[in-house]
Each structure stands twice: as structure tokens, then as C-alpha cells.
Symmetry: C2
Subunit: 340 residues, 2 copies
DNA sequence: CTGTTAGCGCTTTCAC
DNA sequence: GTGAAAGCGCTAACAG
């Protein structure tokens, strides 16, 4: 029957350590923070007690007191897309350098999931969040909705509000790839695009169109398909385009899934068609198809987004930082077309 | 100068809501929990006050009181591998059905990162964790090291301890694929393997060997390479094997990265070589190579692991549940080899 | 250098 | 049905 009041649930508390070391809880706290001036003697005894008891500081309690969770959230639309898993790795890299943990959430492109995740994480006192928004309604991401919790958007820009964001040079990449196809002599370049309501979809289409204008070539509207979502729809769309009496000799695809659909269609067809598209992928070089890929560093998007977020979290100035925007460059890779 | 003591940092607290609704904090708590018997009148007033103030319950404080975080951790070795991002999606799917958030951590196969992540998450009062262990030292995952926090291992079994785990039928899948190659008449089947110290590496090799024994064929040790880590090393190893005066006519690869290396080697060589390997991947069917793939549902591993973990978290029985083990089946897919 | 006091925001317990 | 008191485990702000 001692004075020691260990929590019955098992884990020793700071008090237990203090009692064992013969000091106050405050001294234990200081030792663990590695911060204040504590005598070498006390430090030793505390550390010994910590060890003996197998004590681990309760971060939940600590964070309640400190008023921050030490975690940031990353909300993506589709973790199965390698683009987003790379982005996540970039975020983790920078976050961990700053002692922040990353909580990851997947929305499957569903707005309602995003909204509820955002609300939930706000309740959990997250230090900030990086969001790849699923829709174009960003009401739930406004400063007032989030009570000042910092947000950075990735991949898609803010709509109807101001916020930091990291984008890809969607326009430039699409324009460059299209220009190369035109330079190769293609005059009928089909377009397989994701929904025009998406920023990336709109920008990439704009790039495709702009390259045509610059070359004085008029794209054939009949060879343009937008609003494609996955490999299957892209494959069918490509097959249909290529069955045209005057079929395109090349296809431009706005993302990796659509490119894969187009590849399947071309393989099935057996006739050589030049392919171009966003997002590099494994084994592109062994396909034996003429492939023009717009590539970029997805990790870098994550790293930049995390850095922006951390800058904002650490910002203690009176006047809030103005919203910043950064664009990750693209580059075009050409894979050879050893004819099959 | 009112009695209301709003926290200066901004966010309203339960007290603020209570004051505005003219009730006690307890009543607010009950309404929010949707749990206790509260008069309809009080409920209304509380909800109105919540709305007016834009109040959000502070989960950190709540969790401190409750003694659990409402979050589980998933620690993987390589999120860039689609296998693990699918696994993560499976975990999220089941976790969110149970109102649990998932914190994701990547170890890049480094033991030290894993160890420190585990310790940190234990401090954060996570409700449980799912780990794909990076090494074979699992000391930091023992019940005593974790003070009873539930753990489930995925992909690799526990070493030197007992724990729930979800595995893939590595042996069976490798055996089946090898058997099919043998049935095709191959008698010289090379082996490109990941490190034998890894469970998957050992099991897949065992399956390869077992199929040979069953067929009365002796594998040629000179055609066996183990300890391969990435696409590059696999490509070089495959190239070397195929340069043998009596080269293998088929290659078995223990994972997707090694298969990709082998594909590159075979493409470069130009001579037809049958390929088999673990892990399905996009576009396998359009490569135009004879490809035998051992496939399995990576999401399912995540779902099962999450379910096991939740069972354990919810287990309140005196005698702890015995450690359980479940094996996810594999199936073999054969992609046609339209000769290049 | 060290300890005491107070309280982060919530919920459990126990009265009424 | 409702509220007052107590405290989860920790740390900032003061003393000394």
C-alpha cells in the first residue's frame, strides 16, 4: 500500500517516474524535453527510472497541453495511382525531417468523403493538411471553415478561395508533347482526355490545342474524346477513333490510365499509331511502341507541398503570408518504336 | 466583460457552447455523443449553439480522457510498390467502416526507421498497428515492448514471437507457376530471387524447387541468382544467365521488380524466353511476351489484416486470443506470347 | 536548478 | 434529465 498512484490501466505516468527518481514531475518533463537546465545527477536518475519502468511519454496528453498534434494530413483522390503514392512519399520525406507524422486519407474522388475527412481531421487538431481536391467545390477548405488550419492544395488549384498550391505544368507539357508529334509530321492527332471539369483535364487540352494553333493545324473535333475515366473507357474510345475512315495517326492521352487504354487499343488493332501521354510508367521502354511521354517528378510535388505547409504552420507573423503557387516542370521522353 | 471564458486561441470550447445554450458542459457532451437521455428542448438549444459558434469537439482532449486515439497505424516498407498501396487501400476500407483513421508510415526497408516509428506511435496511443516488418528482428514488436498494443504483421510472419499475421501463399504460387513452365516442356528454368533472408524469398524459392522435385527435374544451380533487390540488378543477372552456353529457356522471378528487369533483358536479347513471376502488373498483356504471372489480391491482405487488428482491439476477454494466421491465395495468369 | 500551482478540453461518477 | 466535481497526463508560468 504505497503512495504511488500508478494508473491501473498499466502504463506508468510521469508521476511514477518522478516518484521513483525522487524528483518532481516537472523535472522529468524537462529531462524528456532535453531542454531546460537540469542537474546531471537528476537527469541520470530520471533516465534510470524511465528505463526501469519502461516509461513512454503520453503524446496525447502532451499534445493537448501544447495545442498541436504534431501531425499533418494528406488527402489524395486515388492512392492506387502511382502518381499519388509517390507524392505521398515526397510529403513524408519532408514531414519527417520536421518531426511531423503524416496521416493519409483516400477519397476515391468522392467529394463527400473528402468533406467528412477534412472535418474529422480538423477536430483532431491536425497541424495542417495537404489536399488533392476531389471536386471543384472547395467551401470546406476555406480558412473560416478550417478555423485557420493551414492548407495546401496539390495538383489542382483552389476554386473560389485563396490557398497555397503546387501544380504541374500541365499546359506546357501537353503543348510540348503535341508539338513533337506535329514536328514528326502528324496532322491528325486524336485526343483522349479526362473530364474537362478537372483542372488538369482543361489545361492539358489547352496545351494540345495551343500547339496545333502554333503549327497552323486545325484539330479535327471528331477525333476528340473527353471525360474518359479509366483504362476501359479509354480503350473503347481509342478503338472507335481508329476505326474512323480517316483515322488519326497519333493519339494524345491526358494521363497514365488513358495512355494504357490507348496502348491496348493500338496493340489490338495491329496498325502502328504514335502515342503520347502524360505520366511515365514502368516498362514503357520495352513496349516496342513509339511513345512520347510527358513526365515529371511526383515526389517533388509532395516535397514542395509539405514545405509550403510547414512554412505556413511555422509562420507566426501578424499579417498572414499571401497565398503562394508553385509549378513543377515537365519534360518529354520519347521511347523508341521498334516496330513489333 | 462577460463570464464567458473563450479560449483566446480562437476555437470555442464545450463551455462556450454550454454557456450559449444555457446548459452545463455535461449536457453538451451528451448531445454530441448522441447517447444519454437529454430533453428534446436541451438538445435543440445545444445544437443551435453548436451551429452558431461553429463548434467542433476537440478530439485530442476527448481521446486523452477516453484513453484511445481512434487511429491505427500501417507501417509498410515501400509505398511506391503498388502492392503496398493496394494493401493500404484495403486497410483503409475496413478501418473506415469502424470509424478508425489510418496513419501511414514508410520505412524504405530500413529497420531503424521502423523501430523509431513503432516507438513513436506507441507514445501516441494508437489503437493498434499493422506492420510489414523490414527485418527479421521483431523485438520491438513484442507485446511487452508495445505494452499490449495490438499488432498484426502483413506479408511476413513474426520471428521469435507470436502475433497475428496475414500472408500470401508464396510457396503454392511459386510451385504452381513453376509447374506450368515444366508442363510446357521447359527443363532449364532460371531463378531470379529476392534475398533468401526474406520470408517471401525463401518460400518462393521453396515452391520453385518443390515443383522441380515433383517433376523429377533437377534445377541447375548455375541458373539460380538470389538476393536481387531491384530492376537493375535483376536485368544484369538475367542477361548473365541468358549468356550461358547452355542458357535457361525460362526464368522465374520472385517479384514484380525482378520480373521487369528480366523483361528488359529478354527484350534486349531478342531471343524468346518464357518468363514467370510474382505480382501482376499493368500492360502485362500487351507486352507480347509469354508471361506466367502469380497474382493475388493485395487489397485483401489489407482488409484481412485490418479486420484481425480490429478483432483484437475490441477483444475484452480475460484470456487473450491466440495468435491467428491467415493465408491469401494466389492464382496463376498466363499472358499470351504473340512472338515479337 | 527545482518544485508548486493551475489548467489544456473533455468525460466519468455520482449526486440531485 | 441535469449538473458539480474530479481528473485523464502533461507542461507553462511562476516562484524559490
Amino acid at each position: 500500500m504505497t503512495e504511488r498512484r500508478a494508473s491501473d490501466a498499466g502504463a506508468p505516468t510521469m508521476r511514477d517516474v518522478a516518484a521513483r527518481a525522487g524528483v518532481s514531475a516537472m523535472t522529468v518533463s524537462r529531462v524528456l524535453k532535453d531542454d531546460a537546465r537540469v542537474s546531471e545527477a537528476s537527469r541520470e536518475r530520471v533516465l534510470r527510472a524511465v528505463d526501469a519502468l519502461g516509461y513512454r511519454r503520453n503524446e496525447t496528453a502532451r499534445r493537448l497541453r501544447l495545442g498541436s498534434s504534431g501531425m499533418i494530413v494528406l488527402i489524395v483522390t486515388n492512392l492506387a495511382n502511382p502518381f499519388y503514392s509517390r507524392l505521398a512519399l515526397g510529403v513524408q520525406e519532408v514531414a519527417s525531417e520536421h518531426g511531423l507524422r503524416v496521416v493519409l486519407s483516400n477519397t476515391a474522388e468522392e467529394y463527400e468523403r473528402e468533406r467528412s475527412a477534412v472535418a474529422d481531421f480538423a477536430s483532431r487538431q491536425m497541424d495542417g493538411m495537404i489536399v488533392v481536391p476531389a471536386g471543384s467545390n472547395h467551401r470546406h477548405l476555406t480558412p473560416s471553415a478550417l478555423r485557420g488550419m493551414p492548407v495546401v492544395l496539390a495538383s489542382r488549384p483552389p476554386a473560389g478561395m485563396d490557398a497555397d498550391c503546387v501544380l504541374v505544368d500541365d499546359f506546357g507539357g501537353a503543348e510540348e508533347a503535341t508539338r513533337q508529334l506535329l514536328a514528326d509530321g502528324h496532322r491528325k492527332i486524336g485526343f483522349l482526355g479526362n473530364p474537362p471539369a478537372l483542372y488538369t483535364g482543361a489545361e492539358r487540352f489547352r496545351g494540345y490545342w495551343s500547339a496545333h494553333e502554333a503549327a497552323g493545324v486545325e484539330p479535327d473535333e471528331r477525333h476528340i474524346r473527353r471525360g474518359l475515366a479509366d483504362v476501359g473507357t479509354a480503350e473503347r474510345a481509342a478503338t472507335a477513333l481508329l476505326a474512323d475512315p480517316e483515322p488519326p495517326t497519333a493519339l494524345f492521352c491526358t494521363n497514365n490510365r488513358l495512355t494504357k487504354g490507348a496502348i491496348r487499343a493500338v496493340r489490338t488493332l495491329g496498325r502502328p499509331v504514335a502515342l503520347a501521354g502524360f505520366d511515365d510508367f514502368d516498362l514503357a521502354e520495352v513496349l516496342g511502341l513509339p511513345l512520347t511521354i510527358v513526365s515529371y517528378d511526383a515526389d517533388e510535388i509532395g516535397r514542395r507541398a509539405a514545405q509550403m505547409l510547414i512554412d505556413r504552420i511555422n509562420d507566426r507573423s501578424e499579417a498572414p503570408l499571401p497565398a503562394r503557387r508553385t509549378v513543377v516542370p515537365t519534360h518529354v521522353i520519347r521511347y523508341g518504336g521498334a516496330p513489333a
